[in-house]
Structures are given as C-alpha cells and as structure tokens.
Amino acid sequence: MSGFQTNSRVIKWIEHRMPVFSFLDHAVGSGYPAPKNLSYMWNFGSLAGMTLVIMIVTGILLAMQYTAHVDYAFDSVERIMRDVNFGWLLRYIHMNGASFFFIVVYIHIFRGLYYGSYKAPRELLWMLGVVILLLMMATAFMGYVLPWGQMSFWGAKVITNLFSAIPVFGEGIVTWLWGGFTVDNPTLNRFYALHYLMPFIIVAVVILHIWALHQFGSNNPLGIDAKGPQDKIPFHPYYTIKDTFGLGVFLIAFAAVIFYAPNYMGHPDNYIPADPLATPAHIVPEWYFLPFYAILRSIPDKLLGVIAMFGSIAVLFVLPWLDSSPVKSGRFRPLFRLFFVLLIVDVVALGFVGANPPEGIWLVIGRVATFWYFLHFLVILPLLGVFERPRPLPTSIGEPVLRGGGAPVGATAKPMEKA
C-alpha cells in the first residue's frame, strides 16, 4: 500500500486541498491491492458498474425524447425508433442494456454464491448487493411500463395487483400505487419519475457496496485470506486491464444483440398500444423475472404466492447466517458443489416454468422447483456445514500455484514470471 505520488504541480495543488487523487488511487488504482488469483468471474462487478453507466447515459438521452402520457407515450417511443437521429440505437441499447445488466448481475451473484463471498466479514457487502438487485428489479419493471404497449400495461397491472394480496390494506395500497381505479395516466407519470430517480439511488448503494468491499477487499477463488503482500497485486494496472479486456468481450456480445437481434429478448405484444379492455392471451414478464414469476404462480394461494415470491429474494438477505460452513470457496466443498449445480438447474427450470402457462407438467415442475429453491437455502445449506467434510485448504494463495499441486487450481497453471 504505497502512498500516492505524482510530479504534476496541478495534481499536487488539488491533492493538497482535496485528496481526491489519492482517494481514487486507493479505490481503484495502484494503491488498492487485490488478491493475485482473481479469475474472470471477478470481472462482473465492474462490468455491472459499466452497464449502469451505459443505462444512465442512454436513459437521460431517451428522456429528452419521451412523453409520459397515456395518449402520447407509445407514439413518442415509435418516434424515437423512426425519426429521432440514432433514436433506434439509443432505445435498442437501453432496452437490451437492461437484459445485459441482469445477465451480468446474475453471474455476479452466482459467483458470490459459489465462492462464498457472502460469508464473514463480507455479510454487509452481500446484503447491499441484494438491495441493489431489488432496486434494479423495481427500476426495470417501471421502465418496461413506459413504452405503454400491451405488455407494459398488463405487466404493470399484474405486478401492482400483487400488493392487493396484503390483508386489510391491500386495496388501499393498490389504489395509492395507481393514483386511480386502474393503471392509468397517474401511474405512468409516477413510474416515469421513479424510473428516472432509482438509477441514481442504485449509484448511491453501489458506492456503499464498493465501500464495504474495500474494507476487506475482494474474496478470491480459493476463499482464503491473503497472508501478506506476496498474495496481492495492485488493482492498477493488473485488474484495470483485465476488467477492460472483459469489457471489450462484453461489448462485442452486447453489440451483436443490439445490431442483429435487438428484439430477441423482448415480446412482440409490446409493439401493440396498451388496451385497458383486452388482456393479451399470454402474459409473460421479461426473462429476468421469469423464475420469480414461476414461484408466484406455483403456489395456489394468492397471498402465499406473493409471500413466496418476495421470500425468494428475502432469503438471500439472511444467506450469510444460513450457510454454516466456515469454508468459503465451493472448490473445497464437494457436496456443496453438487447442490450448487442443482440450484442453477433449479433456477433455470423455474425460468422455463415462468415462460409457459401454469398447466399440466409445467405446474408440477414449478412446484417441485419452488420447493427445492427454498429447501436449498433453508435446509440444505445449514445442514451441509455440519455434515460435509471439506477438502484441505491451501495454506496461502500462492501455495497451489508454486507447488503445482495439492489443489485443482494448479492443474494447468505454471509458475508466473512476475506474480
């Protein structure tokens, strides 16, 4: 942790009055030592941050062209698509950016789940991440309403109606959310206001997330603490360049979808203007909500269905205290690995269930998968810590590499020249 140094007079002048450069150096520069064994799975945090920036920039520009009124919203979006200079590009970036944001964040979350990044002393870091996920979901949901297509309208109606399941106050809360007797102009206006506000709240929580991260630094694929400076390398240039490379790969995939399949992840019904008198035959949420939607529908009771859906995220808040194993990384937990794969299969299955009508085999799969989801977090994880025999941990981050054996990480790695 070398102190920040510079020869520039201007930087010295500013630094003396407001130490912003040393702050940045300490946050994402050479003054921030990170474990030297971070894999590409550790790219997705900064990637999520970049996606957030892309969404805010395109969103502000779109807001300059959009009209939040039930009579004009749909047409104003069509105008963006047809007439506004590069409007199609802005909208396709923003629209697909939401999907890519969730792809990146879901990978980021499952990385944390596998490597035990939620365990002490990073519980608060993890919980702030769950808060970000919730904010993202709210923001994405409200943004999807703005084009005022059929899926916008009916998605808004169904999701706001979830709150009517609350006993006694339900109806009052829903009327309050709508500002009327149904999803209508007041609803569209407030969703627009909140959709513009919430990304900035996300930025604020991201800052807290990074603050909490920097208290103990990144976890790593081995899940053991760095024993000293020999186990770490400076964030800049090592991880700035690795993150930038990852960003390039990400942008290639992102651009491929934007330019060649911009509507692949959307739903054609949303190009039909909202009609409050006719529900589309088959309502589905955006793909990133499908597992949660499946949980909602798997439970025949309205209130319990809503509780289960919110519970599926609430359980993540207490995850650090549900997983009783002291070993962080899944690499050294043979049984946990198995159940982790099952959890991924389970969540993907829930996604397919959410995309299909709740009938026949899908209903059965949905119920089994919902049951398994909660079983995994509430029963399996607490028991695993007791009954599982973890494999021996390496004594340091460097050991598996330098000895070329003992742990699976060393299988292909040769001693680095400089690391």
Binding site: V158, L162, G179, G180, F181, T279, P280, A281, K302
Partner: protein, 188 residues
C-alpha cells in the same frame, strides 16, 4: 422521569438530558409523520378523479345471450344479457360450495342483466368470454387467460387462483332499457 431525576446522583444533569433527547426525538418523529402524510397522499386519487362520474348504457340493442363491454372508471364492465338457461345455471349452484359464496340473486337486480366489473380478482387481467368464439371457461361464464381462473354465468369464481367473485359495481336502472353504472346502491 421526575422521580428518577430526584433520585439520581449529584450530577443528575444526565437524566434531564436523556429526557430532553427523548422528548425532542418524539416530537421530531410526530412532526415528520405530519409532513410525510400530505406527500404520501398526493399519490392517492384526487377528489376530481374519485368523482369520475357514472356511465350510462342503453340496453335496448343488446340481444338476449349477447355480452357487451363498457368502460367505467377506466375499467371494463361486463354487461351480460343472460338467457333463461344461463340464469337457471347460475341459480342451481350449491352456494356453500363456492370459494366466495354468494347466491345469484344477491348479484343481480334483474336476473336477465348481469353487470360485473371485468377485472379478474386474482391479479387484474380482463377475463375472456365477452366476444363470440372466446374461451368461456368450464362454467360458461368467463375465463382468465393469465393464471387460469374460471367464472360461472353469475361471474362467480369457480376454479383457479382468484379469491373473489367478479365484483358488482353500483348501478341503477333509470328506465327499463337504460342502466346507470356508478350510481345507486352497491350490490352485496
């Protein structure tokens, strides 16, 4: 508080301070709540929205067996000119066995005219069945495509996740062929 203050040791200023903290915080919370309410209430529908009048419907052109959708307060209202067979079907049901028990007679003013709000009580979709050829579900009434609730010819939920029957809006018959939705007694 006073007792504690007098029984406290010489430097009893601590206790007085505690009391002041509590009292000030308490007032602050009450004040914040008083300020918060108007802010929260702006999001509720205003009186002008609540007053959103009534919808007058001419029933004369609606033939027996025909269903018509009108808009009231932004929501679809189903008007069903029921046939004798549909009425009998609705009345013949064992009321106690229903998820939301209501006799057909409590849901209509004139048996041939069933008037219900066409919003599924599960999550707010508009059930199918108003147009010819649409799926009317297994009970001859309406079928909600979103999550599969079936309603009968009285608009009562018979199967599926919906907890309640389709609600009956307040309405009155101005004359034999005119109904005013939004005025009059709220049906049971």
């Amino acid at each position: 508080m006073a007792d504690i203050a007098t029984s406290a040791p010489a430097d009893s200023g601590e206790t007085r301070r505690d009391f002041l903290y509590l009292a000030a915080t308490g007032m602050g919370v009450v004040g914040a709540a008083c300020v918060a309410w108007p802010l929260i209430d702006t999001m509720n529908p205003s009186a002008e929205v609540l007053a959103l009048a009534s919808t007058e419907v001419d029933l004369a052109p609606i033939a027996e067996g025909q269903r018509v959708t009108v808009t009231w307060r932004g929501n679809p209202v189903f008007i069903d000119h029921r046939t004798q067979q549909q009425i009998q079907q609705a009345e013949a049901v064992d009321v106690e066995a229903l998820p939301d028990p209501q006799p057909d007679s409590a849901r209509v003013q004139k048996p041939e005219w069933l008037i219900v709000i066409g919003v599924c009580t599960h999550l707010g979709c508009v059930p199918l069945g108003q147009k010819a050829g649409q799926d009317r579900g297994d009970f001859g009434g309406w079928f909600c495509p979103c999550h599969g609730s079936h309603y009968d010819t009285s608009g009562r939920v018979r199967r599926g996740p919906a907890p309640l029957n389709l609600p009956v809006p307040p309405y009155t018959f101005a004359d034999d062929t005119t109904v005013v939705i939004g005025e009059g007694e709220q049906a049971a």
